[in-house]
Point group: C2
Amino acid sequence: MLVESIPNFSEGRRPEIIQKIKDAFLSEPGCAVLDVKPDKDHNRSVFTVAGEPNAVLCGLLKAVGAAVENIDMNTHSGEHPRIGACDVIPFVPIQGISMKECIELSRKCADMIWDQYKIPSYFYEESALLPERRNLADIRKGEYEALKKEIGLPSRRPDVGDPSLHPTAGAVVIGARQPLIAYNVNLASSDLSLAKAIAKRMRAKTGGLSYVKAIGVMLSDRNIAQVSMNLTDFNKSAIYTVFEMVKMEAQRYGVCVTGSEIIGLVPMEALIEAARYYLRLENFESSQVLESCLAKGGF
Amino acid sequence: MLVESIPNFSEGRRPEIIQKIKDAFLSEPGCAVLDVKPDKDHNRSVFTVAGEPNAVLCGLLKAVGAAVENIDMNTHSGEHPRIGACDVIPFVPIQGISMKECIELSRKCADMIWDQYKIPSYFYEESALLPERRNLADIRKGEYEALKKEIGLPSRRPDVGDPSLHPTAGAVVIGARQPLIAYNVNLASSDLSLAKAIAKRMRAKTGGLSYVKAIGVMLSDRNIAQVSMNLTDFNKSAIYTVFEMVKMEAQRYGVCVTGSEIIGLVPMEALIEAARYYLRLENFESSQVLESCLAKGGF
């Protein structure tokens, strides 16, 4: 069983603290750190870790401990919305684990964070107990500063723990979700308005694909417009569907698609599904990928 | 470093002997057995093993030992051409290992098989020392029975070991080669002659793609014709090129391609290259595949 977690910590400026958090993960055998992206403006670091559910859970608890010891939300500032030292912990099913099991893992994580550190939790996405808490942005409304005052209100009560913030570490948002793919498609045009018009056709909120978030942006160094997207469930809104649909929308403006890019990590299954579609592959299983077969240790 | 080997053993009928060979591989830590395909008509079993070069080499030596103890070529019969109890040992570079290193591994393997078992070896494919020994079929000409008499001739002298067969285990062909992909494309037609005509256009020998072997076959249960291929170097003759070229050739007969299939294992890179082509992916590295990143243990 393989689970991924992409916890966000409210520290992006002090390398020694980021290192302490990383060391906390690495001290847990079987919890691999795949990526660390600190951002100074946001004053926030995004970690990508993965492994067996229990190893990831134990690594997370140690890392939250390092955050509690070293981050004080009362003096924290940064551009990115946040409510806690460890701000958000998503659990993503990768292999041999169901969404249901990831939801259970998120519950366990929240309980253990409360037991060990007395930090209250909110459940979001697939783990949400209330529909109005599915969206991360809604839970983080007003950020740490507002939540400090409002946490006693019925609408803002945490899902786990007492209705008061941890004095320095605040609160944490925890939940299971599908893997997110950052996917951009480049247009043979320097007209930003075209990228924006196509993004509007693509995104779920304005009639596009259900699991796509999209905006139009300019790549100023290349002087081309780009449809920049997040695919929030690649099993339902597939990469190849997204690519072909951008191509189709671009056609109405007589504009070609010059290329696309995947930013960061992507689950193998998302690429296999593209190969399945374009090559019209029949009965192809991901276990036929040599590396995947090998990772399972053969037999 | 990750190497694959697909050794063929001249035993496909006695399950207990096949099991002994498998156990020999499994007794070597780090040598994973990914697949075992016994064939009764051929009286032959194809193993797929993988791991670090040294683990695979040690596993192979143990497995050859099990074959020497249990297979007598003087009483062996089967449809498939063969010259030894362990008939052929290909080494295939998968990850972090060059073709040159695989050739060196094949030399080491031949030396050790001679030292330990006194079985002579011939080098084929990338390891061939003579151009006329690149092709496996040429080395195996006349099979075990003819080679027994002819091994003393200058043209049939083994590359490693004395010019006489092992009394029961014969000789072995060893060499480095690119991964081979078994890839078939199905036509919306029950006309075998079309599949044969397309196969002719596809295969290297008759003007097609350099690293493609192709024949036309009937799938009698589905009543459709199929272009059945081996891709002997998917880096040079890519899966997507093969698929698009079959589509193109089929068009001249007004026939559609209904699908394709990959038989057995395929290196991840071959699928990634298809995704790169169809999605016009820019700067995509295989290390961005989450599972691949994880296999390397993150950082």
